[in-house]
Amino acid sequence: MTRYVAGRIAQALVVLWAAYTLTFAILYLLPSDPMQLQLAAAGVQEDSLTPDQVAAMKAEFGLDQSIWTQYWHHLGGALHGDFGISLTQRVPVTEMIGERIGPTLVLSASAAIVALVAGSALAYLATFVRWSLLRILFSRLPAVGASFPQFFVALFLIQFFSFQLGWFPATGSEGASSLVMPVITISVLASSVLAQVLIKSFDETLRQPYITTARAKGLSRSAVHLRHAFRNAALPAMTILGVIVGVTVTSSIVVETVFTREGVGRLAQEAVLSQDVPVVLAVVTIAASVFVLVNLIVDLIYPLLDPRISHTRGKVRAPAPAPALEGGTL
């Protein structure tokens, strides 16, 4: 068991390091020169600066060193939580992110919780209801929810609930009421993703012999559904918890931009617009860390929840991968 845990943690670290390196390579090795990008974004022609000025600027951001020196420098910094200096704001990236991460965490966490509840409820209803019309409606709903672009959902909510009804503020990040519509926007997609997997898992579970046994013993349909089916169906769906968190984290980019909220998502959008390479690298790294960490936790607690999977004897049996989630979201 200890060996499994240690191995799994090591694997997560390696994946994270590789993800960092890949992002670094994309940002620093592709034909674009960060300095030129930044100058172009600021509207400055490189020709208008004297070579000395260019050299001085490059030295300021460490861009005059070889790519390897820069890589080791950045990697070492990132390990200590230092992501360098923003090319546009000229303040430490870590500071910028630290100021903005609070609202994003609140938003993502609330959206993830709402999505878990809503997605589970939807899957429960879609498999429990007997009236075929409702059943079809419920089971088709997730596909509809996953089809609407998030900015469309957001704009629709703004138009309806802010401008027509005046219930919630259309923009800003002040107070709990400003959180309602962003959370709904994110959880529409996240709960759809979850419900699709859960419904499949339910269908699978309800065909198992122990369900028939429970019914034959005289348990009511609802008792069987809740106590026997739900708990067993929810297990495999747990493996997509990482995906759900991933969805809520990436959604913050579009959602914070639409609702003009302060947060890391909008910071990312602004950083790409101003081609602020260190900021982009930092945001991608943090998002990947969250994603890898959630997946690691799920993998580690899965055997505790499902005693059929044991890591103590012989070969490790990984949890069954979530079905049909190779596509569906980006």
């Binding site: 940002l27 596909a143 089809s147 672009p149 469309f152 401008f163 990436t250 991608v284 994603f291 980006l330």
Partner: protein, 298 residues
Amino acid sequence: MTTTEVAERIEVDAPVPEQEAGGRSANLTANLIQLVRKPGFLLAALYVVFVLVSAFWPRLFTSRDPYGTDPKSAMLSPSIDHLFGTDVYGRDLWSRVLYGSPLTIKATLIALGIALVAGLTLGVVSGFFAGVTDAILMRVVDVLLAIPGLLLALAIVTALGYGTIPVAVAVGVGIVPGFARTTRAEVLRVRTLPYVEAARAGGASWGRVLVRHILPNSWGPVAVLAVLDAGVAIIAIASLSFLGFGAAPPAAEWGTLIADGRNYLVTSWWLSLMPGLFVALLVLSLNHISKTLQELSR
């Protein structure tokens, strides 16, 4: 007669390919009949065809110039005359959406092309050679999967710059891992089937087995995924151009149109919501088609 010649003779003598082809086309007709009977599928397919046709021949569906301004008819709400209303310059939004289609469709096709080529190659090589190659390639896929797709796309857009092509490339790379995994799983499944063994025993080379037997029999789930991912790509491309990384104005991708309309949301909801609905219906149709095909193949 050398052994290879014998093997070839056996292969040629075997009547399998022809029968297989006949069986397949008969199967296809049966499937088609089954599909046409599903009203939801038919509607979805018709809508997708409509969007494609209107992208290539927008004149069939609109007579208005997408760039022609007319201050007198600015900000009109949707009507028979202007299906999607008009924008602040009096441009007809419906024709702007239709004329914007080729850009988004082109980007989607590029993204899917990248995903298919890279994903299929990774998946086939991984599933076919197995062992160390498989282990290494799948770790690479794991790494790609560890970076949430949209963020990977953002990094690529930062490096490549803005425009339709960079956005398409960024989205395409984001879809690659899914394709690679699905293809690999299928190839792994098919390569152990008896007919592959039979073909090998008959003397066919691995290359021939791969092209003639494994690929044709494993592309089904990949095709279903491709349809689904077309929808994913459309959303991602629209999102990226909505965020401001798409083609420069006055060219109007769907996402850019929706983003532009955002500023007038208070008074003119149609500027954002009508193009948004147009996109959402397309993605929904693609999802439905993919789902129906998946159910059918079971």
